[in-house]
Amino acid sequence: MKEKNENKLDQLFKDGLSGPGDHFAFREEDWDSMEQLLDKKSNKKAGFFRIMYYASGIAALLLLALGLYFYSKNDTVDPAKMHGKVNKKGNSQKHPGSPDRGNGNDSLGNKTDDLAVTAPAGQSNTVKSAKKDSINNKAESMAVNNSANNNQDSKVKASPGSDLNNKATNMAVNDALPNNNAPKTGTINNATPGSNAPQLADNKTPSANKVPGGQTTGIDTPDNSGKVAPATNQVENNIAANQNTDTTANKKAEREAKKQMAIIKASAIKNRPQFSITVLAASDANAVNSFGHSQTGTNYGLQLSLRVTKKLTISTGVAYAIKPYSSTPTSYSADSYNPSRTPTNIQANCKVLDVPLNLSYQLFSKGNNAIGVGTGVSSYFMLKENYRFDYAAETGWKPYNLEVRNKNTHLFGVLNVNVNYQRRINSKFSAVLQPYMKLPLTGIGNGKVDLKSTGVALGINWNIGSALKP
């Protein structure tokens, strides 16, 4: 069909273009991408998995190292703290029953409570229970004793309702009875620990007990118990009334003690490093230089957090981010490719593996809500970068697409700033709302652009608890 030299134009191009290929000097970057192709061929998806593998490995190691560091630190501090707490616990536990020692009875608050409940069965029991009860109750019973003749039971029954009332009635009754001075001081001293001890001042209670113990309680207790015994023996109706107050007071004391134990436990746990996993999804605005022409990207991430102190949390993880953005040629520093052809616009879409290392500080925590601020650095592993270069219409050049895979990594190349709000759903889970900003410390991707991201992450945080239980 076609004969040689038939077409001058064809010949012109054939001669001009099919010469020896010495117009092109070897370029190292072409070989770099060739090597990537060869590597990919040998293990196609290995690149991605290798990065994932390394990233998760680094994250796990970091967390483990930090966890161990802080744990060992806490361990050296803890024993003293824990010891103090145990002592405290012991005191607070024994406190309601402390007068028992005088009677040679080591039974705990619970037992006295039980006894008090079963008390109405027999007289001896009721006497015992009355003895075992807190000094407050003794004071009350004494008051009952003293006022028995006046039929003021109802008043006494009502009195435990408020501490002040209680005191007041006790005082009033004591004042009304000029028996001796010792019971008076005794009641005042005892009233304080008896009514308030389990609720507020644990530290003060034992000392308050001990200090006056030598001076007044020593005299007081036998005095009171001596009085209680005849009182209960004498007025059985009053005892029944007393038992009511006993049980309520005991229950109250017990409840307080339990609450306190829980607090102690909680604080003991708080001092151990706690791990939690957060699953996050975020939508963010990506832009180069300013957020004027931003585009929306998405992020999915898994974050592992380590709570080192009550306020400080260190977290790391991996997030897969899709970051589309557009850039001007001035922001995109092109390499040696076609420098003479300057595009009008560059449209990019990058798939990034983001490995953050953040430190957050809790600013505010009340009830189920907690607010904190955090900062840290992120490492970007650029998995896939797609760029489209658009040229001016008058040049007639069609847009050119460039794809770069697994070429660029930016270790600690991005600064993270975030605010996080957590709302507890239950003991294990809480919802997380985290507005954040990612500011590059280095040029990101193939074009070394100043790619900023800002957005809001939503997620669920699962508190695994202390993974390093002793």
Partner: protein, 210 residues
């Protein structure tokens, strides 16, 4: 590169030696690039296609028939890779007067020598479909039937694309000739140079005669 050296490199590449692969890549870089660049829209695409081609070379090296020239085998792979690269958007067809296609470029062309960069720049400005057909027809020497089967298009489309390609190229060549470019400038310089030399020669001869 000597034949023995080439065989050694090929043997090394078969052993997946990265060093030998790079040597081979370097050795055929310019040749492969010159082919790919003709089919590609720009150098980015050309290097992408070329690397895909080299990947085929490395992975199919055991299939290479040693009795044939290696460079031709590489060239064919590069051409096929280029064609594959654009195959998806080659169906561009125009209903033009196909017979007129043969006439384009017969005449009206200025007698000038365009350099490689000018020519490659012109070819690259063609749409993919035109460029591919023009390359295969004008430079590789395939017939329209061969091109049609290669690209999975009709011979009509092949002819039409060649026609459009020639038309566009002709305009580019003519326009480049009209522009006061380096070519005409250098021609003027040679004329001036020859003129001065001849004048000085005659002056010299006159002096000698005296």
């Amino acid at each position: 590169m000597g034949e023995a050296e080439l065989q050694q490199l090929i043997a090394g590449c078969l052993q997946h030696s990265r060093k030998d692969q790079k040597m081979l890549y370097k050795a055929f870089y310019g040749f492969a690039m010159s082919i790919c660049l003709r089919y590609a829209g720009n150098r980015y695409e050309a290097s992408e296609i070329m690397n895909q081609g080299f990947l085929k070379v490395f992975t199919n090296l055991q299939k290479y028939d040693t009795s044939r020239p290696f460079i031709a085998w590489v060239g064919r792979i590069m051409m096929n890779t280029s064609v594959d690269y654009y195959r998806s958007n080659l169906k561009l067809s125009l209903t033009d007067d196909l017979d007129a296609a043969e006439d384009i470029g017969h005449n009206e062309l200025p007698d000038q020598k365009l350099n490689y960069d000018d020519l490659i720049g012109m070819v690259q400005q063609l749409p993919n479909a035109y460029r591919t057909v023009f390359n295969l027809f004008a430079i590789e020497g395939f017939s329209h039937e061969e091109i049609a089967s290669k690209l999975n298009i009709s011979t009509g489309t092949s002819k039409s694309n060649l026609f459009k390609a020639r038309e566009k190229l002709k305009n580019m060549v003519i326009n480049s000739g009209r522009l006061p470019e380096g070519n005409s400038g250098s021609g003027l310089q040679t004329i001036v140079a020859i003129g001065t030399i001849s004048v000085s020669m005659s002056v010299l001869i006159e002096l000698i005669m005296k």
